[in-house]
């Protein structure tokens, strides 16, 4: 008997013309680990909310079809019982923590369930212990790191002892190490406690192999569901990109059996590929990053010399940073949370001033110019595109930057709208657009001024493979035209695919700085899956394309492999205005 059964589920958000879910049919067995993948707007999160009973109860809207939980219509189940049986953890921990203290946060759901004191005390103690949060129980939630906050959100839900745990992109805000830790906990809960898991995720490298079944969604419908290996082959055939690189690589080659982990992949690789042709990749020429002409490239855009910075509370965030970025370079800045990445980005933007040392941007000393003066040469895209959007139309949003900087329009807005594929959105209110489109409007409003240095803070957070591919290609184009691109990211795969150079920051110091192949292939946590697969074999392999080139394998589904990871930049799954 399935734990969940969904029958002909169709759902429209209030005032929506298109359904978010369209005729969805599925079932979930007890103890199953289900991974839901798909592009932005494909209905993944809506499905998660429907399973949690939040749709239509919280959102309103129109609904058709039925969802059964343990044979009972979910809408007939008492709210309290439902919340106790089905737990959901959302994307942003900041927006799901309610109380100011850690212990109070874990107890919040239990209080809502009306449990007696002794039972609450036992559950709080057990959960804090299991998640290693006991030492933090008297801490303020605001003082926790992103990873700790998400772990607390998970602990708070699990204290309610649900039978089904739904996770809606729980690692989108976390660095690779914290993501790994969270997924290990989820795996443990599934394997050792038989907890049924429904995971909605965009970053698949760390979770694809954990799933018993992968559900692929497009346009509010389930287009395929199968075990991960079969899903990888099907997706490659159908040019869908929701596969981690290792599975994608083997699915492309058409070898029998698709390995899901690096370990399995290594075995298969040595069996079929390396033994067959050890010298296959000896002549592999590593791809050079797309960059501006050499004359431009040698022009330094950023010169950081001996930069130290301490926050007023005494926290030393940057310690002796030296950094040079030339025109046309595409640099990814990586490192754990609180390693000083955003602080360095703000130094380059002139938002923070050096305590010691110097920061020169396009020859301007950031200590001597205000950020609004630097805006002529620096473009800055923050983590949240909503911070930019307040005008009535997309066109006005772009015009706002130009008028502030006293720049003439002379076709810049048209050019930018064309380039960002926003022409049809010209008269739309930016707040009415999808998240991917909002990001493009924010980026367009920054790019309209034609900056020499483009700074981006976690631009791939929460966006799908297709949108990532579009963004990556665009940034490569921008770099090729001579703009220096400097982005902070936790997304190893993105950095490996598109950046030319990687800088790793640790505890406020540069831990390493060099071409991406050099830096990423030797890293433990900050290496892409393909690099781990080919570790010790060829350090020049970071991406699927490089792997195919190195192994000399022909692809069974060339079109699909080309489309995989969206290197065509067409951004499948993107919602268009």
């Amino acid at each position: 008997m399935p734990l969940f059964k969904v029958e002909n589920l169709t759902y429209y958000y209030p005032d929506a013309q298109q359904p978010a879910l369209h005729n969805v049919n599925m079932s979930i067995e007890e103890g199953e680990f289900l991974l839901v993948v798909g592009g932005s707007g494909s209905g993944k999160s809506s499905l998660a909310r429907a399973l949690a009973g939040l749709i239509p109860d919280f959102y309103g809207g129109r609904i058709g079809g039925r969802v059964f939980y343990k044979r009972q219509d979910i809408r007939q189940i008492n709210k309290r019982t439902l919340a106790g049986e089905i737990g959901i953890v959302f994307q942003d921990p900041e927006k799901q923590l309610v109380m100011t203290g850690v212990e109070g946060e874990v107890a919040f759901g239990l209080e809502n369930l009306g449990l007696p004191q002794a039972e609450m005390f036992r559950r709080v103690a057990e959960v804090l212990g299991f998640f290693g949060l006991t030492q933090l129980k008297t801490e303020f939630t605001a003082s926790l790191s992103g990873g700790q906050k998400q772990k607390l959100a998970l602990a708070s839900v699990l204290a309610m002892q649900p039978h089904l745990l739904i996770l809606d992109e729980p690692t989108s805000q976390l660095d690779p190490a914290a993501s790994e830790e969270l997924f290990n906990l989820v795996r443990q809960l599934n394997e050792e406690m038989n907890l049924t898991i429904v995971l909605v995720e965009q970053r698949l490298e760390r979770c694809f192999h954990l799933a018993d079944r992968v559900v692929v969604m497009e346009g509010g419908q389930i287009v395929q569901e199968s075990p991960p290996g079969e899903s990888a082959v099907w997706q490659v055939k159908n040019r869908l990109p929701y596969i981690p690189p290792v599975a994608g690589f083997f699915a492309c080659t058409g070898l029998s059996g698709v390995p899901l982990t690096v370990k399995e992949g290594r075995k298969l690789l040595s069996k079929y590929v390396l033994s067959r042709d050890q010298s296959a990749g000896q002549n592999l020429v590593l791809p050079q990053p797309v960059r501006a002409a050499s004359k431009e490239r040698d022009t330094p855009i950023v010169e950081v010399k001996g930069l130290w910075f301490t926050y007023p509370d005494g926290r030393e965030a940057l310690r002796g940073i030296d950094l040079h970025i030339g025109a046309g370079e595409f640099v990814a800045l990586m490192g754990e949370n609180a390693s000083g990445k955003t602080t360095l980005l703000k130094q380059l933007a002139g938002l923070l001033k050096p305590w010691r040392g110097r920061v020169l941007v396009a020859g301007l000393d950031t200590r001597k110019v205000a950020p609004c003066q630097l805006a002529r040469v620096v473009g800055y895209l923050s983590q949240n595109p909503n911070d930019y959007l307040f005008r009535d139309t997309v066109e006005e949003e772009l015009g706002f930057t130009l008028s502030n900087l006293g720049l003439p329009g002379d076709g810049r807005i048209d050019e930018m709208l064309e380039r960002m594929k926003l022409k049809r959105c010209r008269e739309f209110n930016p707040r009415d657009l999808s998240s991917g489109e909002r990001q493009r409007v924010a980026l367009a409003s920054v790019m309209a001024a034609g900056p020499q240095l483009l700074l981006l803070d976690e631009p791939t957070r929460g966006i799908d493979y297709g949108l990532k591919a579009g963004l990556g290609s665009l940034l490569q184009e921008v770099a090729a035209e001579g703009t220096a691109v400097f982005l902070v990211t936790h997304d190893v795969e993105f950095a490996a695919e598109y950046a030319g150079r990687v800088v790793m920051l640790f505890d406020g110091k540069v831990a390493c700085d060099g071409p991406k192949h050099e830096v990423l292939s030797s890293s433990i946590f900050y290496s892409p899956q393909m690099s781990r697969l080919f570790r010790g074999v060829n350090s020049g392999v970071l991406s699927l394309r490089e792997a195919l080139e190195f192994t000399g394998l022909r692809t069974e589904h060339p079109a699909g492999c080309e489309g995989h990871h969206g290197s065509d930049g067409k951004g499948r799954g993107r919602t268009c205005c």
Binding site: L54, D57, F58, K79, R80, A83, F90, D92, E94, Q96, L97, V98, M99, T100, G101, E103, G104, F108, G109, L110, E111, N112, L113, G114, L115, P116, Q117, V124, T138, F140, A142, S143, S156, V157, M160, K346, A349, L351, A370, P371, C372, L374, A375, R376, V378, G379, Y380, S382, N384, N386, D387, Y388, L389, F390, F400, T401, N404, L405, S445, V446
Partner: protein
């Protein structure tokens, strides 16, 4: 002001280990006494006890931060009060004739009254500093939520969200600056307009965010019926002693007020600071009760026997 920028830091101190009912009672009694007494000796005594308790809570550095601002205000009270308050018989200084204001009279009584008010202000600042040092806001809210669940939750949410909103405001301001907006130049009207833009963005984003918080709360059974209350604090002998000290002090203060022992006459002439032994006895009783937590804290650090008993 992010929550982690509040002065409360868990240091495992005796005063931080008190049950929130005991620590909050101490702070509340101190505040009430500061507001009801005008007698300089009482105000000075309460300040001494507050200072001693802050020292016991390892908060002198934090108090220094509070006083940096408060002392300027006290100085202003000391200067302005005698200039605007012309009452009192003991003239200290008579100004030359000033246009519109005439001749200003500075009296000993007005200066003394200003000093007493300054001392009261310092006391209020000290009490708030002590509150930040020894009362864990979450534990206090937990206590309040047993009697008033909804107000406690609103306070908790506000405590969580206000710092987040302040951080968002800063981020939006930074984004605007890097889109060429200069907040430091232009007429007042233009500057107000620029800040209005920031608040517009913040308002729209906050509304979107608040829906997500509400959704997360509903997913955790909020609003699904009668709730229970999680009690995590132990009530130990130390809490009983400190609570008793606070209540005793409040009782002694009420006695002082009823028998006019804690009031003082500033005008038209200064009264006597010590009107009799009763004043001193009542003062000792008030301060003794208040000082008990700090004394216990001091002994707790040095006496193993006491530590095992309370």
């Amino acid at each position: 002001m992010p929550v982690n920028h509040l002065s409360y830091r868990e240091k495992g101190l005796f005063l931080q280990s008190l049950h929130p009912a005991a620590s909050f009672t101490l702070v509340a009694v101190l505040l009430v006494l500061v507001l009801i007494f005008s007698h300089p000796l009482y105000l000075a005594g309460i300040f001494a006890v507050t200072f001693f308790t802050i020292w016991a809570a390892d908060g002198l550095k934090i108090l220094k931060g509070y006083l940096k601002f408060a002392l300027w205000v006290v100085l202003m009270v000391l200067v302005i009060n005698p200039l605007v308050n012309q009452s009192g018989n003991t003239v200290l200084w008579l100004s030359p004739h000033l246009p519109l204001a005439g001749r200003l009279v500075v009296t000993l009584e007005a200066v003394s009254y200003g000093a007493a008010m300054g001392l009261r202000l310092l006391n209020v600042v000290g009490v708030f500093c002590l509150y930040g040092l020894i009362v864990h806001p979450d534990r206090l809210l937990n206590l309040i939520s047993r009697f008033a669940h909804k107000p406690a939750l609103v306070i908790s949410l506000a405590t969580r969200l206000l710092p987040a909103m302040a951080a968002s405001l800063n981020k939006i301001r930074e984004v605007q600056q890097l889109r060429g907006v200069d907040f430091s130049t232009g007429s007042l009207k233009k500057r107000v307009g620029r800040y209005t833009t920031i608040f517009n963005i913040l308002l729209v984003s906050s509304l979107e965010d608040s829906l997500q918080v509400a959704e997360a709360m509903q997913a955790r059974a909020f609003g699904s019926g009668r709730r229970s209350s999680y009690r995590r604090d132990l009530f130990r002998p130390r809490d009983g002693l400190c609570l008793a000290g606070g209540i005793f002090s409040l009782g002694a203060a009420v006695y002082s007020v009823i028998h006019a022992l804690g009031s003082y006459t500033f005008f038209p002439e200064l009264g006597s600071l010590l009107s009799g032994r009763a004043t001193l006895s009542a003062l000792a009783a008030v301060l003794g009760g208040l000082a008990l937590p700090a004394l216990l804290s001091w002994r707790w650090n040095h006496c193993r026997y006491l530590r095992s008993k309370i």
